[in-house]
């Protein structure tokens, strides 16, 4: 507890490029960029594979690989290979690790939509793209959002680890603290990261409420 008071009570930790607001912003910014990049790659791919049914093997392989790959090893190897100094190489492992959950959940979500529903949609004269966007995506949205949530949490955690190879953000407190035996800073950083992860979790719960149709989440009010 004392360490936490030491860390959060120190005014020096609240300003400047090494201050909490700046580090938090860095962390969020970096995570957001990584998440958006992986969405741009994984969502269309997942929709395509789920809708056409082609390339499902790719999904299974990615899903398994994603869980088995050690994040730290991947981060270290890629940064070493691509080059140290700038921060953007760190984006590569972050994006690589965020793609599988988005891809797999998008695919599963689309794939899992009731066959009758697909049938009814085509039968009423919706075209392939309309079936996908107007029926399959809204119905699969809970799973797609779940994939995004898992990916976002993964990115926040991996970005913390990536401080080890020079990335800014909240991980800096942990890594630098460990190196200099500055435990207040280490623990403070850990708490900040944990809180950020919880906020991400919460944000996605809210997003789910706003975006998913009450008819799909089955929480529409009984009487109107």
């Amino acid at each position: 507890m004392n360490w936490l008071i030491d860390f959060f009570g120190n005014p020096a930790n609240w300003s400047g490029p090494g201050g909490i607001p700046a580090r938090l912003l860095e962390h969020v910014e970096f995570s957001l960029v990584a998440l958006i990049l992986s969405m741009i790659i994984a969502i269309p791919l997942g929709l395509l594979i789920g809708h056409t049914g082609r390339g499902a093997v790719l999904v299974v392989v990615t899903a398994n690989a994603a869980r088995a790959l050690p994040t730290l090893g991947l981060v270290v190897l890629i940064v070493l290979l691509v080059g140290v100094g700038t921060t953007w190489p760190v984006l590569i492992p972050l994006v690589a690790l965020a793609i599988p959950p988005i891809l797999v959940n998008t695919y599963e979500g689309i794939r899992g939509v009731d066959e009758d529903l697909r049938d009814a949609a085509y039968g009423m004269g919706l075209r392939g793209g309309q079936v996908l966007m107007k029926v399959l995506v809204p119905v699969a949205l809970p799973l797609i959002l779940l994939g995004l949530r898992v990916a976002a949490i993964q990115v926040v955690a991996t970005a913390t680890v990536a401080a080890y190879v020079g990335l800014g953000g909240l991980g800096r407190y942990i890594i630098d603290g460990l190196a200099t035996k500055d435990f207040p800073s280490t623990i403070g950083g850990a708490v900040l990261v944990a809180v950020l992860a919880l906020i991400v979790q919460l944000a996605f719960s809210l997003l789910q409420r706003v975006m998913v149709s009450p008819g799909v989440s089955r929480r529409a009010a009984k009487a109107r």
């Binding site: 009814a120 039968g123 919706l126 809204p138 119905v139 008819g215 799909v216």
Partner: protein
Amino acid sequence: MITFEGVTKRYGDGTVAVDNLSLQVPTGAITVFVGPSGCGKTTSLRMINRMIDATEGRILLDDKDIRQIDPPTLRRGIGYVIQQAGLFPHRKIVDNVATVPYLLGWDKKKARARAMELLERVGLDTKLAGRYPFQLSGGQQQRVGVARALAADPPVLLMDEPFSAVDPVVRTSLQDELLRLQSELHKTIVFVTHDIDEAIKLGDTVAVLRVGGHLAQIADPSTLLAEPADDFVEGFLGKDRGIRRLSFVPAGGVAVRAERDVPGWSVVLDGDDRPLGWRAGGSTGPTDTQAAGKDGLLPFGTFDLEKDSLRAALDAALLAPSGCAIAVDGDGRFAGVVTREALDEALLRASGAAGPTGAGSHG
């Protein structure tokens, strides 16, 4: 009119779902495809809106080969109802019904107004319009499914076992509702079912298919019951064909005696001329009708002379101790009695002249 000309559906693995099917689905009537599972009835139906494309032969919709129409455009002009209703869970009922109007580019207000009108038409409370599908019972969902199929007023309606997932009571009411709707709308309806009773109840024409996708017989229900083409059709029709066929013989031809007495029994009426029951012994004069009440009366059966079938008349006779049926007019007022002899004569005529009796009234 929908015409199948030598239509065959063969899958890659060699299985033949539909084998050289040729038949005509008349405009403005209900045609039922019936048969055991694996007979290709659903495949045949789905070839009409090109959910499945035929391997050989062609299907004409009002003399136009459907393969020349782009599938989504074709489908928007054909209503489609499936077993589980297939409602979109993420859309409110009103928007589900308005799906095709929206696709056709109607403005939102007009589409919704049309949807509300259809909800009423299929017998649903318009208060349900703002609900989501999961909040409705199976029967209600199925009604929404029918409303949705009718939304853009398509001339053709395809119904793929639409009522088979609901309980018998709801099914009967949905069937009655469909017949009522059809009497107002006169759509060209193709209806698929595995239930021969449903086929006979609903169909103006019934096509019986057998496993392997062969057409075994196509006829109106009365002819089907009277003259099944072969053992398969006969077996599929089941027992009591003769009795069931009487449903298609109008009772109007039976001889009615416009008096209340038959040997040993008399009909007691209330002040409004409606039958109350049978009393043993002869009539004791017109005054007793008010006094008698229901005491000491025995059960009776009636049939509507104008609307009911010979089967209803026979049933009415079997319910009464006197063995005679009571005929009533459209308002339920006493019209006369039908003796067993008169029924015998009518039955004889019905079995002798088993040919077409005109479109029998349904229900």
